[in-house]
């Protein structure tokens, strides 16, 4: 045998290792670990989760369309990950603070983002799409995994103050290879920081499969850092919500960090800039279409007699309205004046930059009256 240098474990396929409440066919399974955390979730709340997922999918589709139409420089689709994002984010309390990656459109939606917030950064109008203090969500992070450390630092502050808050951070499977993510787990464990790590294992880091990042289920790493973890079916919104409630309760109770690996799938490209047909096959995609998170919840609600035509049409109308508002906000954005490029670099005057600002202002002024 020659030395094995390619990944051998196919963690991508170990889907049965994940905790779930709703099976892919929409049937409900007893789960003694997770059920207590969602015992209060009634049909009305399930319809609300369904509604949020439909709206998120519509927001995401609109983002892709706006990029294709040249209105956005880039968009990072999250189709397929609706259950993970909505299920976990809906469990987070208003006073908690979230440190997301760039793909967490559903998380900022669940935190109350305005229509323009989804596109402002991708359109290139501002460095951050939303007001961090209003949403209690840090700006979307593009450097892979950097935000996990920020969440731990924030959580350390919470712990020092004894505040009833938790910091939450989201990242992908690719990020688990980053030093920062591993350092974040060490620091969180060392200080017993009230932080929840949510790994959205969507199976692909651009073209690199999850098996290249991890030869072992990702949630299995956390206990090695002293952090309890759960591996949940990320396309099961109920399981995601239950897992997140478990993790938040754990952190809020002063028992330190908790870790969730949500096993899901990114149905589209990594961003609008890549072509997934070059690196993954149609059969894999098709197998995940059969695990669609929205269809799964629909099946469950329908079988339970809880899915009315009225709910479906109302939801569709709500989704269309959000998309329309998002498009209007996007197209209506006014690019700031040239001198705005200098705004906000420093909190206090900086003579070096102030001089450049003055020079550029004089340069711009030199055009006035020139024609």
């Amino acid at each position: 045998m020659s030395p094995q240098i390619t990944p051998i474990a196919d963690t991508a396929q170990d889907l049965e290792l994940a905790e779930r409440i709703l099976a892919p066919d929409g049937s409900r399974r007893a789960n003694s670990r997770l059920d207590p955390f969602v015992a209060d979730v009634d049909a009305a709340q399930l319809r609300s989760l369904h509604r949020d997922m439909i709206i998120l999918r519509r927001i995401d589709a609109e983002g892709v369309a706006l990029q294709r139409q040249g209105q956005l420089g880039l968009w990072a689709p999250c189709q397929g990950q609706e259950a993970t994002q909505i299920g976990t984010a809906r469990a987070i309390a208003p006073q908690d603070y979230v440190f997301p990656s760039y793909r967490e459109t559903g998380v900022i939606y669940a935190r109350g983002a305005e229509p323009g917030d989804y596109v402002r950064m991708w359109r290139g109008e501002e460095g951050a799409g939303h007001d961090p203090e209003t949403l209690r969500v840090a700006p979307l992070q593009i450097i892979i995994g950097a935000q996990t450390l920020h969440a731990v630092g924030y959580a350390l502050g919470i712990r020092h103050e004894g505040a009833d808050e938790v910091a939450v951070t989201y990242f992908g499977d690719g990020a688990t290879s980053q030093g920062d993510v591993n350092e974040a787990m060490i620091f969180a464990s060392s200080y017993q920081a009230p932080v929840v790590f949510v790994c959205q294992n969507n199976h692909w880091a651009i073209s690199e499969p999850v098996a290249l990042q991890s030869q072992y289920p990702i949630a299995g790493r956390a206990p090695g850092f002293g952090i309890p973890s759960l591996r949940v079916d990320g396309n099961d919104v109920l399981a995601c919500m239950a897992a997140m409630r478990w993790a938040l309760d754990h952190a809020r109770a002063g028992r330190g960090p908790a870790y969730i690996e949500a096993v899901t799938y990114r149905m589209g490209p990594h961003t609008t800039a890549d072509d997934p047909t070059r690196y993954r096959d149609e059969a894999e995609l098709e197998s995940w279409r059969r695990r669609d998170p929205i269809a799964r919840l629909e099946e469950y609600l329908r079988a339970a007699g809880e899915l009315t035509e009225e709910h479906i049409s109302e939801t569709q109308a709500a989704a269309d309205l959000v998309a329309k508002e998002m498009r209007a906000a996007c197209l209506g954005m006014e690019t700031r004046a040239p001198m705005a490029v200098f705004d906000g670099v420093y909190a206090e005057p900086h003579t070096g930059l102030d001089r450049q600002r003055g020079e550029y202002a004089a340069y711009l002024a030199s055009f006035e009256g020139a024609a």
């Binding site: 950097a146 450390l149 620091f187 909190a347």
Partner: protein
Amino acid sequence: MTEVTLGKALGAGLRQAMRDDDKVVLLGEDIGKLGGVFRITDGLLEEFGAARVIDTPLAESGIVGMAVGLAFRGYRPVVEIQFDGFVYPAFDQIVAQVAKLHYRTQGRVKMPITIRIPWAGGIGAAEHHSESPEAYFVHTAGLRVVAVSNPEDAYRSLRQAIASDDPVVFFEPKRLYHHKGDVDLEGSLADAPPMGLARVVRPGTDATLITYGAMVTTALQAADAAEDEGISLEVIDLRSLSPVDYDSVAASVRKTGRVVVAHEASREAGVAAEVIASITERCFEYLESAPLRVTGHDIPYPPAKLEKYHLPDLDRLLDAVDRVLDRPNSLTGADV
């Protein structure tokens, strides 16, 4: 006035800043019980407790990344990077996170983080313990960069850095940690000159010698030696490398017309290059000769036994002074 070492002055500055504002927290490796490998944080754990003097795991990116999160929460973290050469693993967190978050959020998130770095060579240290990485940070918008050269400045500038709403990379010349000087430990920050101002350490008329950090000491020695030859050198301590106080620099250049800029860091795209370019833009017509750089060579920091050939010394400074004054020098030869 109290005579203290530069190291003690820094410790006193940290203590005062922590007393002034309970949002000031310290983070770093070995800063608690040990008091830091240079003992700068000595006694602070006892006074302020482990919640404010935080010993960390050995991960520089983690330390700075944690500071970012604490800043989000409204704290004023002061990070100690144990040695200059250890800052590189934290480079992303400093240049892509700390430096940019205020700009990205249009000022809605402040990063009042001070990153203290025991810095530069001349102490016969092991590899990675003598680096001069200041140009990387000067080149990064959103950061302020300070380099101190004496106890009084160390005490005052550190408190100013911590009080600043901007992130400050704060360089401490470790070969001066034991140098003593008078410090006004009772002085109010309100009365102190701003952090960004340069200082004329020694007035002169024939040429201006501009430097910072431990090289200020060497520059003053050069000025003494030059005086013996009847040459009057003005020595400027930049103190702040971002921003550079070009008003003070230009005032001196207009007076002397001749300039030497010196630092330990390598030459290529270094601070001296920037300072000379800016001088040329601002006061070209006052220059009597081409400004010169005296710097470390463009080499990795050499082994300790060779560092004396890398670090600009008195003679290399004086040779450059001879050149800008058109006196016999290493290029022209003594016989010319």
